[in-house]
């Protein structure tokens, strides 16, 4: 029988990454002067499990690397060594190395041995310090096959307590009979009288002969478990003359032979396929779901019964039942959505490490406080928000927090404070990154923005608007471009990424007191708050986050420009008017602008007015992908099914604006020609 163990690799990687996160977390909080035994134990267990798993699943390099970690931790755990700051450092580096080794193994890439060798050397150096214990992984003794046929005589005299360890001589006989031709003779001499017989004790002994291509070690191995509970002699018939007693005989170097498990062919393809395709869900969420389905079944059977012999007198019962069904459905929907929700600690947990490394590098003293780590958000959102958050935190540390002496001079505590907050607000999750550093230098930002022509030289800007400029493309005020942040590609990308998740980011800052970045994100990408609008017979959905305002069109603000394009004067701005019926080729109620409504939307930093016939209700809609069900359509981000069963299309504002611009240009060039 052969079992493909590569099917468990995915679980192994998942649990190892989780373990490494826990390990890192514990290491970061570790105070080397007062080590908590349980903390060390937790760290040790991770190394131990990763090693065990890696060896089992054939990841030899990983197993060897973790072996040194495990040994070091075992010695610290046993009190043979104390954990030094250097030790913590090396262990943290080891976590990094392991992560990349595992990630590479998972992706089926070649492993990079240069770094792992270096860290392993440092681990081994720590191990060698003040200890003579060798920690080499014992080589596995291969069983030789060039064995001669030998006849063996075995005398097996168990102690009376043999059964108490759960051992049964039958197991040994089974093992022996697999090796060769065996014959056992029972010796019942020491069996007491029936009256005094205790059936829980073993009073029998055996003489066994066995012949075959068998080594003494193989026989000893079978008796290994009971070596301490019996008298055992193993003699080959040939060397009977020089018979030797073997007591407690298991030689040190006997090992169960372990064939090295080769990584299965085709593993790479599978590994990449399953990448991130699974999700860990806590049991209580699944239980909730099962509960809810139970309720649904009850409601369904109630309604079913009602339907069988329905009379108008039961109409009240029916409407009760339907109300219950609605409630069940809503709860079920919420439960299902919750399955995709993960606590934000998945992202937050990287930060202690990042802050520690970076503050050491910059020579700053920083304390990191995290609140609301259990706040949940959608897995997809989580995966995409990680990098922008890292950028913002690095930015706060690099540009916000001052050097210790600077802070002392300005009367602040030497230790800077970075606070990460996460909480729910309405249907959004809000993440704040707050530092108590020097704040943004508004004068410098404005100066730079003017130099780049981002704002006019005489334009007057409010404070908040100035701070907002840091999200403009190509604007970085870092005097020295460090490798930390400040390459000038940062903040605009951060904002773009957050916007692409349907969220926004803003900054408030006060000179000398610090800055506060606030990110607002939808809890999920699967449900959208939408404004339903009507164009002719059709209903479209405009994402609520894109809508700035809605207004009745006044004729005096309409401006015709070259071609057929029209602009609308919105206070000091001019925005293009997009007639949705033209974009989608429909017959509208109204072609005259002043009879319809204008929905002012923003996408990719540009505003436009959508001309629609009517505004309908606002509601949450479940997004269905057009690409998977049909094909990608410019200007549409998806579709949904409304309460009455009709399909409504969801507008992609950025795409719509882009295509409107194209057609306007075409018309303009057409008119010019």
């Amino acid at each position: 029988m052969s079992i493909d163990i590569s099917q468990f690799l995915h679980t192994f990687f998942e649990e190892s990454f989780e373990g490494l996160d826990a390990m890192e977390n514990n290491l970061l909080h570790m105070d080397v002067n007062s080590c908590d035994v349980e903390e060390i134990n937790t760290i040790f267990r991770v190394a131990h499990s990763v090693k065990g798993g890696a060896a089992t699943f054939g990841l030899k390099a990983v197993a060897e690397f973790t072996h040194s970690m495990e040994t070091l931790l075992d010695q610290i755990r046993g009190g043979e060594k104390t954990l030094s700051d250097e030790g913590v450092d090396v262990l943290l580096r080891s976590v990094d190395v392991l992560r990349s080794m595992l990630a590479n193994s998972k992706a089926g890439n070649e492993l990079d041995f240069i770094e792992s060798e270096e860290i392993k050397k440092r681990l081994d150096e720590l191990l060698d310090k003040g200890s003579s214990k060798k920690t080499v992984m014992k080589p596995v003794v291969e069983r030789k096959d060039d064995q001669q046929i030998t006849n063996w005589e075995i005398k097996f005299i168990p102690e009376t307590g043999l059964f108490k360890s759960g051992n049964d001589p039958v197991r040994m006989f089974r093992g022996l009979s697999e090796l060769g031709i065996m014959e056992a003779t029972v010796n019942a001499e020491s069996l007491p009288d029936f009256e005094s017989l205790n059936p829980e004790e073993c009073h029998l002994s055996w003489d066994i002969t066995i012949s075959g291509k068998i080594s003494k070690e193989q026989i000893a191995e079978i008796f290994e478990w009971v070596a301490d509970d019996c008298k055992l002699t193993i003699t080959s018939v040939e060397e009977e003359a020089t018979a030797q007693l073997v007591e407690n005989m298991v030689p040190e170097d006997v090992k169960i032979v372990v064939p090295i498990v080769k990584p299965m062919p085709g593993k790479e393809g599978r590994a990449t396929q399953t990448e991130s395709a699974s999700i860990r869900v806590s049991i209580d969420k699944v239980d909730d779901l099962i509960n809810m389905v139970g309720e649904l079944v009850i409601t369904q059977s109630m309604l079913g019964q009602l339907g069988q012999d329905f009379e108008m007198s039961k109409i009240e019962k029916l409407s009760d039942g339907l109300a219950q069904l609605e409630r069940n459905t809503r709860e079920l929907q919420e439960s299902v959505m919750r399955i995709r929700m993960l606590p934000i600690s998945f992202v937050f947990q990287r930060f202690p490490r990042i802050v520690r490394d970076l503050s050491t590098k910059l020579g700053k003293k920083v304390e990191l406080i995290m609140n609301g780590e259990s706040t949940e958000l959608d897995k997809t959102v989580m995966e995409k928000i990680g990098d922008p958050l890292v950028h913002l935190v690095r930015n706060s540390l690099d540009h916000g927090i001052e050097m210790p002496e600077m802070r002392r001079k300005s009367g602040k505590d030497e230790i800077g404070l970075i606070t990460l907050n996460a909480f729910h607000q309405g249907g959004n999750i809000v993440i704040e990154i707050i530092d108590d550093g020097k704040g943004l230098d508004k004068a410098k930002i404005l100066e730079k923005a003017r130099a780049r022509g981002l704002v006019g030289s005489d334009e007057d800007f409010g404070d908040d608007k100035v701070a907002d400029l840091i999200f403009a493309p190509g604007l970085s005020t870092a005097e020295v471009v460090s490798d930390v942040s400040g390459r000038g590609v940062g903040m605009d990308v951060v904002r773009k990424n957050i916007k692409s998740l349907g969220g926004n980011v803003e900054v408030r800052t006060e000179a000398g007191k610090g800055s506060r970045f606030t990110i607002r994100l939808p809890l999920t990408l699967a449900i959208l708050d939408g404004q339903l609008v009507r164009v002719g017979e059709e209903t479209y959905i405009v994402p609520l986050v894109s809508i700035i305002e809605t207004l009745q069109i006044k004729k005096k603000y309409i401006n015709d420009i070259a071609g057929k394009a029209q602009m609308y004067r919105l206070r000091e701005d001019y925005i293009p008017i997009i007639r949705l019926y033209q974009s989608f080729g429909l017959k509208p109620d109204q072609e005259h602008l002043e009879n319809g409504l204008l929905v002012v939307v923003e996408g990719d930093g540009q505003k436009a007015g959508l001309f629609v016939d009517d505004l309908l209700s606002q509601q949450q809609v479940v997004i269905k992908s057009l690409e998977t069900n049909f094909q990608k359509v410019q200007g549409l981000s998806g579709a949904t099914i409304l309460g009455d069963g009709t399909v409504a299309l969801i507008l992609d504002i950025s795409g719509l604006l882009a295509s409107a611009k194209d057609s306007a240009q075409m018309q303009a060039s057409g008119a010019a020609a």
Partner: protein, 120 residues
């Protein structure tokens, strides 16, 4: 068919052991640590218990000691899954009442061969 309780805090190892044993037709229940195992072992009796040694909450050796103290498990085979570095653990386990041990890493075939010898 014989019933087996598999105890390991590592999900991947547990999956492998359980998959192997179930595949061979055994009735298998899993536990994530010693505490969990003890709870499950008290609810019903198993023909054999296979446990990891290093686990949070209650380690394998304490589990074996506890199980041996229970009337239902006085003679039940209790196997430890140890690593090659845990030589002293074997002795500790034996003293606690373990029947025997398997040294990690092992492959599914080796596991099955050992189990078969113990409970047939």
């Amino acid at each position: 068919m014989s019933s087996i309780l598999v105890v390991d805090d590592s999900a991947s190892m547990r999956q492998m052991v359980v998959f192997t044993l179930k595949g061979a037709g055994y009735e298998v229940e899993e536990a994530v640590d010693g505490m969990d195992a003890l709870k499950k072992a008290k609810l019903r009796s198993f023909n054999i218990v296979v446990t990891d040694v290093n686990m949070p909450n209650m380690d394998g050796i304490s589990l074996i000691k506890e199980l041996r103290g229970l009337n239902d498990y006085r003679f039940t085979p209790l196997l430890m899954l140890t690593t090659e570095s845990g030589a002293d653990k074997k002795q500790e386990g034996k003293a606690a009442g373990a029947t025997g041990w398997m040294v990690k890493p092992f492959n599914p075939e080796q596991l099955l061969a050992t189990i078969k010898k113990v409970i047939g």
